[in-house]
């Protein structure tokens, strides 16, 4: 496979890899590193690429495993994930400070979810994969995906409700 073909193939989903990595690792830089690493791994194994049924799903699985490894390494190393990108630097920031704040709040709620639920919500609600695809990517069965999805969504709802009530009262 030529480099050009590989790039056009991966361009279709490399942002999804990045977003998944970012969801798990939180830090922009680490997510970029992870994406780069995954794409390089794919590129090195390009000869085997034809064997994979679904390169995209495979890459997602790789990303998940890579991020898990990273997170585990951090835990054992007793390190906290250090990042400074809770704030979004887009120019519209000034105009919609309040709206942004509440969106960030949702992001924080999501970061508080268990990793699996976080990933499933990311893949389902943001990337819009169906449950079968998610099950394949995360190496789970579909029912488990649905249950985790529902749990994650309900937790978010609860947290939103709390916040909303504080806001009102």
């Amino acid at each position: 496979m030529k480099e050009r073909a590989f790039i056009t193939l991966t361009n279709g989903f490399k942002d999804k890899l990045y977003r998944l990595a970012k969801r798990l690792l939180v830090s922009n830089e680490e997510a970029e590193d992870a994406t780069q690493e995954i794409l390089l791994k794919l590129w090195r194994n390009k000869t085997k690429m034809a064997e994979y049924k679904n390169v995209e799903a495979f890459a997602m699985t790789m990303t998940k495993n890579y991020c898990y490894d990273k997170l585990k390494a951090k835990e054992t190393g007793n390190l906290k994930i250090v990042h400074s990108n809770y704030k979004d630097e887009r120019p519209s920031l000034q105009r919609q400070v309040e709206a942004k704040d509440s969106l960030e709040w949702v992001g924080k709620i999501m970061d508080g979810l268990p990793e699996q639920q976080r990933m499933i919500i990311q893949l389902r609600d943001i990337e819009q994969y169906n449950n079968a695809e998610i099950a394949e990517m995360l190496e789970m069965n579909e029912t488990a995906v649905r249950v985790a999805l529902s749990r994650g969504r309900k937790t978010i709802r609860q947290e939103l409700l709390k916040k909303h009530n504080y806001g009102v009262g």
Binding site: Y18, R19, Q128
Partner: protein
């Protein structure tokens, strides 16, 4: 969308039972303007989802980071050194290529022998003179050794002891 249907859809959504297209409907609805106030709180959620799906990596990801590409100019250095080494050896290996001159770097058997006897004599003399002059120069410093001789002469008086001793033995 009517409210009753919407609320039912939301319930289904939190049970994880909505289809992707239903979820899209929800997303469209909640990112729109007219959301009833008691459902306002879900606006953030769906807005968050649709915004997050636009996030992209800020730095371009490159494939060539370490695909083992060595820049072409490093090979020039390698080629130059090989050429140099081969060049040096070739002049040694192929002495017959220029019979008049002989090999350039071979020194064996060539000890600077001079065929003309006159010249040889002169050269030898020069060489010996050089050695002699250096010798004389070195010898000058040895003058101090004469002090030993003079000191030894003084010790002659010690013989007096000997003679006196001999007398006593008798």
């Amino acid at each position: 969308m009517e409210l009753a249907k919407l609320e039912k859809l939301l319930d289904k959504y939190f049970e994880g039972e909505t289809t992707l297209s239903e979820e899209k409907e929800l997303k469209v609805y909640f990112t729109g303007e007219s959301v009833p106030s008691h459902l306002e709180r879900y606006k953030d959620l769906f807005q968050f989802f649709s915004e997050e799906s636009q996030v992209t990596a800020s730095s371009e990801i490159s494939l060539n980071a370490n695909t083992n590409k060595v820049p072409w100019y490093t090979w020039i250095g390698v080629a130059a050194s090989i050429a140099l080494i081969v060049g040096l050896f070739m002049t040694n290996i192929l002495p017959g290529s220029d019979p008049g001159k002989g090999p350039l770097l071979v020194m064996e058997g060539d000890l600077g022998t001079i065929e003309d006897p006159e010249l040889a004599l002169q050269k030898t003399k020069e060489a010996l003179d050089l050695v002699a002059s250096l010798m004389n120069e070195g010898k000058k410093d040895l003058v101090y050794l004469n002090e030993f001789d003079t000191a030894k002469k003084e010790l002659v008086y010690l013989n007096e002891f000997e003679t006196a001793k001999n007398k006593l033995i008798k």
